[in-house]
């Protein structure tokens, strides 16, 4: 029988002991910044990705733990979309994991709001990194993220599909007009069975590349838009003559194929996107071989290309194990054996030590070779985009899709996007 007094006593004792335990927890961890082999500290690490990445990450963690017996790493992962909802709720509750895989689009959202650790205050070796790459992890003199790897924009094509249509393989030196003509040729020679490509003007990052080809910044350092409505209209006008023709795949098809891409579904001959999507496209399409060439540019000396960190490593501002977190990040970005584990599945390793320690074959080699081939054209990586960039990027895609559906004309689409962007910038100011 539980009587009232007994019950209350139990509850009181329980509550008190929980409080004591909690106090012990914080007490031991603040004093225990570093662990020892007998008494290791445990840090939490979280990433997004599929099972393949999970397997590779587990191998990397096991290797890290064997080399650092004083640290245990507790790993956890989700898919990309759910990842950011989870981080948002954790940040609201003050409980972000110690170390996290991060995306450039969200660096400002969390960095500027003091959720991320300034990594220049801890020991991480960045000697083997391209100096032009590091600023993309920095905001106002603070280093919030270290790039693990890089990706660059490229045009993918399937040589077998072009050969079957009797079309010569492109060499990647093309103007926008030549690229458009190429897309049209694919569409007309295949009689509409194969589209030239997707409407590349709907891709934010390709717009960003085009802006850089025209020496325009996408965002100013004050976090405002660096381009005008006229720039955006010019951009969306580039493919005005192709919409609704077999040169580009209809938006109806794109919607139905989602979440798979038209290129991965063998509906188009080309795709303009990041070069580290190679493995995914090969898997989806079943193609024997896919090749990469540079994006079009009207100025042959300025391709507007840059290496972007395909992902970054960050630490929570509230982590109690700064030293352990720093050692884990250093290991993940620099260790040659980690490079050997991930190959190009995270992108091309950013650290030279890691890159040189990795053997690239087959598909991995195509991606690495592409980034080497464009190295003379590369400009500094862009600064981390503005707060709320993730929203802007998706509204760019959505409004470009409305344009393709004919729901909006170019003027209407431009006004709609600017209204959303200005509203968002005002909101986050």
């Amino acid at each position: 029988m539980i009587n009232r007094r007994h019950f209350l006593t139990t509850v009181a004792v329980g509550t008190a002991s929980a409080g004591v335990l909690a106090a012990c927890g914080t007490g031991s961890s603040t004093s225990g910044q570093t662990g020892s082999a007998e008494n290791p500290v445990t840090i939490n690490y979280t990433w997004w990705g599929n099972d393949d990445r999970a397997e590779r990450t587990r191998k990397a963690i096991a290797l890290f733990e064997s080399k650092n017996p004083d640290i245990k790493v507790n790993g956890n992962f989700t898919d990309f979309a759910g990842y950011w909802q989870k981080r948002a709720t954790e940040a609201a509750g003050g409980g972000l994991p110690d170390v996290m895989q991060w995306d450039l689009s969200y660096l400002r959202d969390y960095g500027q709001r003091n959720q991320l650790l300034d990594l220049s205050t801890v020991k991480i070796n960045t000697d083997a990194f391209e100096k032009s790459l590091l600023p993309s992890g920095q905001i106002k003199g603070k280093t919030y993220g270290i790039p693990t790897s890089t990706n660059a924009f490229a045009v993918y094509y399937d040589p077998a599909k072009l050969a079957s249509l009797g079309i010569a393989e492109p060499d990647g030196t093309w103007t926008y007009k030549e690229f458009n003509d190429f897309l049209t040729e694919v569409g007309s020679k295949s009689n509409g069975a194969l589209f030239g490509g997707t409407d590349y003007t709907g891709v934010w990052w390709m717009f960003n590349v085009w802006l850089r080809q025209n020496n325009i910044e996408a965002f100013t350092s004050e976090g405002k838009l660096g381009f005008t409505k006229d720039d955006l209209k010019k951009w969306w006008n580039l493919t005005a003559g192709l919409r609704g023709t077999p040169a580009i795949v209809s938006e109806e098809r794109v919607t139905q194929l989602a979440p798979k891409s038209p290129f991965g579904s063998n509906v188009t001959a080309t795709e303009v996107t990041w070069d580290n999507f190679m493995a995914g496209y090969l898997g989806d399409s079943g193609a024997k071989e896919l090749k990469l060439v540079p994006v079009p540019s009207d100025d042959p000396d300025n391709l507007g290309l840059f290496l972007k960190p395909s992902m970054l490593m960050v630490a929570s501002a509230k982590t109690k194990f700064k030293d352990a977190a720093a050692r884990f990040i250093d290991f993940m970005v620099n260790d040659p054996e980690v490079g050997q584990i991930f190959k190009t599945s995270r992108g091309v390793p950013a650290s030279k030590t890691q890159r040189d320690g990795t053997t690239f074959e087959g598909t991995d080699k195509i991606v690495v070779d592409y980034e080497t081939s464009i190295s003379q054209y590369l400009k500094d990586a862009p600064e981390p985009p503005i707060v709320g960039f993730g929203t802007l990027e998706s509204s760019f895609k959505r409004i470009a899709s409305d344009l393709n559906y004919g729901k909006l004309d170019i003027n209407g689409a431009t006004d709609a996007w600017f209204k959303e962007a200005e509203d968002l910038i005002k909101q986050n100011a």
Partner: protein, 317 residues
């Protein structure tokens, strides 16, 4: 819930009631509340609490990271200048206005067919009820998406009759009919309630009407409809409220984006996007409260107008 006011009234009654009885009543009330406690705690912690805090948040600018900033009615006023919001209202109202009556009509029609005594009635009832058990599930939304895609069964089936619409999923003009079909197909729950209602109608009424020479149409409008009106009212109310809350199927079929061209941007989907993709929790809370208020008003209107067409047994009307 219904018993607690009685209990508390009795327990606080003083004066004429004998002392003993009142004490007895107090013990009853205590026992009542004790049994209610688990539910009451859950209700307060999981429903009332969050509702109050979301009411507060709806007057603030809250991005989950920084403390909420009080901005008064700004969220509510900006709502009406937000084209995406207005679009989501249009999409949802269209869905409620067309989907709900069609669903109820299908439910009533099938219930009347299943009301006669034939062999295998149990089987048919279960078969027609099944879709509403699984209809809200993720897998059905995925199946639906595949069925209405390019060269899917629906596209191919219609092609046989020379109708070439292509896939419905990617066509902004066809997504709404697709969603309405999805909800109509789940008519099982209101159907079961209609069936129970139909069983309550005394057979003598139909027999008497037959004697007087009334046909099936006349019998339906003069007997079935008025006798069933409380059940129709209940189903209409529940299904309307339910339709306003459509989320899961829209989220899955449009990959959480409300496309193509915003044609599936249902109210709750936009609310979710604002809150969890754009981190504008204050804005999303304002949307949630507006929905609560609007659904409340619609319910009130239903109750007010019900007096003229809903007949309860024992009514003198």
């Amino acid at each position: 819930m219904t018993s607690s006011p009685t209990l508390s009234r009795r327990s606080t009654t003083s004066g004429p009631a004998p002392l003993r009885k009142s004490r007895q009543g107090g013990a009853d009330a205590r026992a009542g509340y004790t049994f209610l406690l688990p539910w009451l705690l859950g209700f307060i912690a999981l429903t009332v609490g969050p509702m109050i805090s979301s009411l507060y948040l709806s007057f603030t600018n809250y991005n989950l990271f920084e403390p909420p900033k009080w901005i008064g009615l700004d969220n509510y006023t900006t709502l009406f200048q937000d084209e995406r919001f207005l679009q989501s209202v249009g999409v949802t109202v269209g869905y409620v206005v067309f989907g709900t009556p069609l669903k109820l009509a299908a439910a009533l029609a099938v219930a009347m067919l299943l009301n006669s005594k034939r062999r295998g009635q149990g089987f048919y009832r279960s078969a027609f009820y099944a879709p509403s058990l699984i209809g809200a599930s993720v897998s059905i939304a995925i199946v639906w998406k595949a069925m209405f895609g390019d060269n899917g069964p629906v596209d191919q089936g219609l092609s046989i009759f020379g109708i070439n619409l292509g896939g419905w999923v990617g066509n902004p003009a066809m997504t709404m009919p697709m969603f309405i079909l999805l909800t109509v197909w789940q008519f099982g729950a209101p159907m079961v309630i209609f069936l129970a209602g139909l069983k309550q109608i005394p057979n003598e009424l139909y027999e008497a009407a037959s004697m007087d020479g009334a046909g099936p149409v006349r019998k339906f409008f003069n007997i079935t409809w008025p006798m069933l009106s409380p059940v129709i009212f209940f189903n209409l109310l529940m299904e309307t409220i339910h339709a306003f809350q459509i989320f899961a199927s829209a989220f899955i079929i449009s990959n959480g984006e409300g496309g193509p061209a915003g044609s599936t941007l249902f109210y709750t989907l936009y609310l979710y996007l604002r809150g969890f993709s754009d981190f504008r929790m204050g804005y999303a809370s304002a949307m949630a409260w507006l929905l609560v208020i609007v659904v409340g008003i619609i319910t009130l209107i239903f109750f007010r107008t019900s007096k003229s067409w809903v007949h309860y047994s024992g009514d003198s009307k």
